[in-house]
Symmetry: C2
Subunit: 420 residues, 2 copies
């Protein structure tokens, strides 16, 4: 099936509202095995919408419209779609009842213009709106299919999932299953090199890699006749990937690094505290984004000044003098200080140069030392992100800190301090 | 001038890449006084791009394309645009030289296909690319104008500002000047009420309000014959707004709250430290996002556990026992602790319930106490964001903390501790 996505609304053309519907529908249709040929945005203008529909049905069979289903005069999507598919609008009594119930629940009177929303194409399959007032619908005629959904994403997305997606599945012969595998610590080109034979040989499942903010994701997708077959094919491919690049995989179910770290800390009953210099609280912020983290997170220190490092963490002034605040020695003393002050089993510390100023030839902007300790095991890692902005350097450092937490928990304890 | 925006790239139709170019161009064109009639996205497919161009020039004079200018076989925008405007591609020697210089600087060999990027329409005005390799251009013929820009936003945006916007200004008779005023602490509906007479009576300048993550912005725009007149009209309106709602305005030039706070701290030579419970490091993170903050930011404490509050900040266990960790009393003891431990002139502390668990009838999710102190002045504020997510509650608290920093700096010092 070849599809066109049309988003309707003058506010979209002004750029006031970001069109998140278009991206959402693109992704969802692709997973349903439907090819998207065009995306269009038009204002609340019937003539232009009519021209777009004509263009669309020239070489596509499905048009999905969002927006323009509301109660006001400029909501004209239904009229235009109805006309293009040779149908007429009639009053849909079930929707009238639902509108009455909707406004009663809100304790607001229903104005006359709200009844416009109950005027629907006579041959349409109506989609109820459980998060707003305007219903959606699908209409088919002579090889042309139109699906109309409301504009607000909080109404559109649930209606797509509850009504449009099940309808589209009945129209598609194939079943698609996919998983998003997330990796850290390996660049996209290196990742592709390690699995290039799998990518080159792919028929089904297919593999696609995506780079994202210091991470790489791999999408494994399988299109089979039954869901069981598709799931099995994806599971088999995942086993192969685990053999090749298992050490970099932190989630096989599209979880954030921080969420996985907090989950493992809670599972292991491991308390954690941290000290941050260049990351300025971002590590603690990411951890505490996750609900339930209070079971394991004790405290964090943002020791931005040298005095703070010395006074809060007991870093030796001599160490800072001799090796600098950005050094392996200082990072290690910071992490030991966190552990001793907080009593947490796991501690993480980072010190670096986020820029844009403050870099030297020897210690350039982007250099960060990360130290971690779990019980009696201590590690330290030097990372360098050349050419990154202040923001990217900080995020990159925080992701490395989170990954270090996972590695510390995952690796067997040993009696010796080791160097990663 | 009526315009169409066309973004080219199969990856956009998959929804892998969010089309930020379309929103950016929509906003920029509106400010230049150019009406956007349609936005289209097509894959790397010359036939479909051709059809979109035909449709566009039926009722518009300007088409702006992004993407498809690169060195590979599927980059076909130039060819199709050139054909639609009756021109031919020729080798642009200046671009060849620039490509040679570009690759020399990267210390990479220039492959033959990179020279495709130097093939440009014979009658085009070429736009140099200072952030990548593919140049852009504008081409005019017989009332049709096409502007082609590269796809990557970090190349497209500077090229638009440096080359396309100046060109478009020469084509437009009107001059538009605007300023974005940012306010905090007043809801959008209250803001509109306070300036509704100005909004209702507006001809020029125009006023538009936007709500955003706990803040409200007001755009003042004026379209006049000269820039001088437009600037004066905007300045006059800004004076009126300052009289009405001056206490809520923190920037008249679209700056972030954190950036304004850091600027004022640096100007005043005021050192700052903080203690955070529910915000978990986000306040420190926002401050340290701003380059140069190390001149004033000393340290931060993420005192998530009660023990951390007691041990790091000297909060009394009795206070926590009697009033709870989320209370005005605890917030005030936290801020006094920060001041005394750090020695900073300004201190900010927050304690609250970010949820989703942990709320009670008396202390619901969304309740946050924020305490601030500058020299011998101390304030404390209770905020409550009902029905917010964990993320929104935390952001709302951090914005209130930043606004408190501004208020503390802005208000005259007094000898008494006051209650805000």
């Amino acid at each position: 099936m070849k599809a066109v996505i049309v988003t309707v609304g003058t506010e979209l053309l002004f750029g006031q509202t970001v069109d998140t519907n278009a991206v959402y529908l693109s992704q969802r249709l692709q997973l349903l095995g439907i090819d998207v040929m065009y995306r269009h945005t038009v204002g609340d203008n019937p003539a232009r919408l009519r021209r777009i529909l004509e263009l669309s049905y020239d070489d596509c069979d499905l048009v999905i419209c969002t927006g323009g289903l509301g109660p006001t005069q400029d909501d004209l999507t239904k009229e235009v779609v109805c006309e293009a598919l040779g149908d007429v609008l009639i009053r849909h009594e079930e929707t009238v009842e639902e509108l009455n119930a909707f406004f009663k629940k809100l304790e607001r009177p229903m104005t006359e213009n709200n009844l416009r929303q109950a005027m629907l194409p006579s041959k349409a399959l109506v989609f109820a709106n459980h998060h707003g007032s305007a219903p959606g619908f699908v209409l088919e005629n002579d090889g042309r299919t139109a699906i109309c959904l409301p504009g607000p994403p909080r109404e559109m997305k649930p209606m797509f999932e509850e009504s449009a997606a099940p309808y589209l599945k009945t129209r598609s012969n194939a079943t698609i299953y996919y998983r998003l595998i997330r990796t850290f610590g390996i660049g996209e080109s290196m990742l592709e090199t390690k699995i290039s034979d799998l990518i080159d040989a792919q028929t089904d499942p297919t593999l696609a890699t995506y780079a994202k903010e210091g991470e790489c994701s791999i999408r494994i997708a399988s299109k089979r006749n039954t869901m069981e077959e598709a799931k099995q094919a994806v599971a088999d491919m995942l086993s192969v990937l685990r053999e090749r690049i298992g050490e970099y995989i932190f989630s096989d179910d599209d979880e954030e690094l921080a969420a996985v770290a907090v989950k493992k800390l809670i599972e292991g009953g491991i308390s954690i505290s941290c000290a941050e210099s260049c990351t300025g609280g971002m590590f603690a912020q990411r951890l505490t984004d996750i609900p339930g983290v209070s079971a394991v997170f004790d405290r964090g220190f943002v020791t931005y000044s040298n005095n703070a490092k010395i006074e809060q963490l007991g870093v030796s002034p001599d160490t800072i003098e001799k090796y600098g605040a950005v050094s392996e020695e200082t990072a290690r003393e910071m992490v030991r200080g966190v552990k001793s002050v907080s009593g947490s089993r796991l501690a993480i510390a980072a010190t670096g140069i986020a820029g844009p100023e403050g870099g030297t030839d020897e210690k350039p902007v982007g250099l960060v030392y990360i130290a971690g300790a779990l019980d009696d095991r201590e590690v330290c890692k030097r990372i360098l992100l050349r050419g990154g902005s202040r923001g990217r350097i900080r995020v990159h450092a925080v992701l490395n800190m989170l990954f270090m937490v996972l590695k510390l928990i995952g690796e067997p304890a040993s009696g010796n301090a080791s160097r990663a």
